[in-house]
Amino acid sequence: MTSPAATPSLSNALGPVVLSAGPPIESRAGGGFVVELEAFSGPLDLLLHLLREEQLEIADIPIARIADQFLGAIHELGLNQAADYLEMASRLVRLKAQMLLPRADGEAWEDPRAELVRRLLEYQQIKEISYWMAGAVERRALRFARGYLPEPPELPPPPLTLDLLELLTAVERVVSGILHPVLHSVVARPLDVEGATRRLQALLDEQDEFSWSEALGPHPTISDVLSVLLALLELARRGRCSLTQPAAFSPLVIRRESSLPAA
């Protein structure tokens, strides 16, 4: 059983979180990042992660530095193909340019970062709520209701790795446990559709019309019945005969197609 504190996302749900939650990022020897794409749920998430790594205040983002890091990170992560991340990248680059514009002393200045800061704080709040909700789901999952049938988790079956020898050994082990094993030897009984077709063709040559039981002949086996059925369907498909059933549940009547003369 997993205790709530066992997973990183849930431990965050338990206490106040100030830029402490986030997916693990491992530093490689080369200083690059090794991260799964799923580790971040969006560009804001990645941006928050970068700010956290550098221990930077959201309210006072050094745009030039973080823009470069963001571009570097999405390049490293192979996210530079994803539209959502590209949009954020272009936004950051634009902000970087705006921050470089000279401004006169004393002049009223609107911080171009304000909108980004607001979005980051808002997103961070949503993220904190989502951690709380994950914790709530986890706590609720510890209580089972009567007659409550949750959908089984969709897990792929584990790959079956065993060779023929292991399989045979397993079979022997099972069989050896049985006192009087009744072993059937299974033999293939191929259907003789060709033979049935020849016989039916002969019947069609002799008679304009005959019944299902005549088609089967005396004492048919299961494979005879199946062979005749398949042969009949094939002959009907080729237009050699027609199959009719005069009434519901009445015997099948096989009739030679009138266009074909009797031999």
């Binding site: 059983m1 949503i126 993220k127 789901v137 209701a145």
Partner: protein, 194 residues
């Protein structure tokens, strides 16, 4: 336990979902809503103080008898019941936005999360956690989403008011540094944007 209490226990045992007090009143023509509420309270105390493996929980606007968390591990080990598959981070974030902003359209969800939301919205709808509650009057009359009773059930909440208050969160929207503004203004800042 009095007969009404026993009747309610039987009904809650038989139901496979939380049952509201209003539904429970229909079980006994002689009982009033107050009688039912009092009996439910008695039933809850009975489970809590007489040492039972189950307890009565207020959930999604109703009442349900659930096993106590302490026995979850043993029940799962014996494979008598299993937990639901987990929600992804994207699902939880989207649910958080919808829970607090409902009714809310896709555009606003995407604006807050900074990513496309259509796939996540479909997945949440398929799991019955959100539903379309109407259409916005805005351009294109986009669909508006809200949470379902199943969402409350999944989180173990009696109703939406049990979600944490935004001002109680450690990251309540703080004013940006360059232009300090009060916390009330910060809230208004978000509200105006909503």
């Amino acid at each position: 336990m009095n007969p009404l209490c026993q009747l309610l226990e039987a009904a809650l045992f038989a139901a496979a979902r939380p049952v509201t007090a209003e539904e429970l009143v229909t079980l006994d023509p002689d009982a009033s809503l107050d009688d039912v509420r009092a009996a439910l309270e008695q039933l809850r105390e009975h489970y809590d103080f007489d040492g039972h493996g189950v307890e009565m929980i207020e959930l999604a606007g109703g009442y349900q008898i659930l096993s106590r968390p302490a026995f979850a591990a043993a029940i799962e080990r014996a494979q008598l019941n299993t937990r639901q598959p987990r929600l992804t981070a994207a699902m939880l974030e989207t649910l958080a936005v919808i829970a607090y902003r409902q009714p809310v359209g896709r555009a606003e969800i995407e604006e807050i999360r900074g990513v496309s939301a259509s796939g996540v919205l479909r997945a949440l709808q398929e799991r019955g956690l959100i539903e379309v509650t109407g259409r916005s009057e805005g351009l294109g009359r986009p669909l508006l989403y809200g949470t379902t009773p199943l969402f409350l059930e999944l989180l173990g909440l009696a109703d939406l008011a049990n979600l944490p208050k935004t001002e109680e969160l450690s990251i309540a929207l703080q004013p940006p540094k360059p232009e300090p503004i009060g916390p009330d203004d910060a809230a208004a800042y978000v509200a105006a944007d909503a």
